[in-house]
Symmetry: C2
Subunit: 195 residues, 2 copies
């Protein structure tokens, strides 16, 4: 027999992410995933109810992992500007190490073909935006950010800049270092945030 349910599940998730980078999602068939894991195609369905369920698990893995990396920075006390700085650096560094993330997150295949998966992604993004909004509010109270900023809108603009950058990185086949863009991006954004 094979490995345990939990182990196989994780193997399938990892194989799916690896393949999403190598081939794009078109060739991300259950057969291709199975081949990479080293099991037969129907065995996939012993561990996941459907193909979509695999993608859902991948999205959740991404969300959980990202939260592990930057989650603390939202709740830790300290100057909000420094924390935002760190969030930008760490998020881009994290994504720079996991090319599958933009491929999966920005995939219309997930957004448009499965309303369920779409709300999973939206919920994740909403949570992020809310934390960011809260952080900007704190920064305004701490007088490190301009009191004229609309926290909610500002949070969404910052997110848009990050997401746009990551998307560009993905579209251009990862041909520049995402990590190296993090500090310049922060430098660029800073004047717009300062009082």
């Amino acid at each position: 027999m094979g490995k345990s349910h939990e182990v196989r599940k994780q193997e399938i998730i990892e194989a799916t992410m690896a393949l999403s980078v190598e081939k794009g999602l078109k060739k991300l068939t259950t057969q291709a995933i199975a081949d990479r894991v080293g099991i037969a195609q129907p065995t996939i369905f012993r561990h996941f109810k459907s193909r979509d369920a695999i993608f859902g698990a991948v999205i959740n893995w991404v969300g959980d992992s990202l939260f592990k990396v930057i989650g603390d920075l939202f709740s830790t006390p300290g100057p909000a500007d420094e924390r935002l700085h760190q969030i930008i650096l760490k998020q881009l560094a994290f994504m720079g190490k996991h090319r599958a993330i933009p491929r999966v997150l920005f995939s219309d295949r997930l957004h448009l073909e499965s309303p369920k998966l779409k709300t999973v992604v939206q919920t994740m993004m909403d949570g992020y935006a809310q934390r960011l909004t809260r952080l900007i509010e704190e920064g305004i109270e701490q007088r490190v950010f301009s009191p004229e900023l609309e926290p909610d809108r500002t949070a969404r603009f910052i997110l848009a800049a990050i997401q746009g950058l990551v998307m560009r990185w993905s579209v251009y086949e990862f041909n520049f270092s995402l990590e190296e863009e993090a500090e310049p991006l922060w430098q660029f954004l800073q004047p717009s945030l300062r009082p």
Copy 2:
């Protein structure tokens, strides 16, 4: 018989864009396009060599149309900051009227499944980025932008912010007015550009 080649071609392009908004690209089959145009499915292939050729035509239509709207602003003389302001307003207004654009441009289906289409999109984006870079250089010469800006990188950050915003709009099913975000986005970016 039917209409002329050119007319049918345009009808197919328009049907494809309309469907990309309504259903997402999964259901964007040649059958669905044909149904919408009111012709039989094989007739599609009288006017386009392949399904990819349709998408290529759509991308080119998008690029041409966008260029018609904002192209002048790159070459017209005048203060660079005002021109950039107008570019942001007009681009977001234009995209706000054509929901198909983000659906098509940000589709991984196009980027990852067809190397040819991918380079079409990349070339378009490159052209845009170059013009923007040039505009920022002018702005620095005119002393309306900070001389410390790296024109190329700044252009890409601005593009990322715009693209991120448009992508968010698309992911959230167009549930906010893109046009209304344009002026606030410009207000947000301005402090980062000014000397």
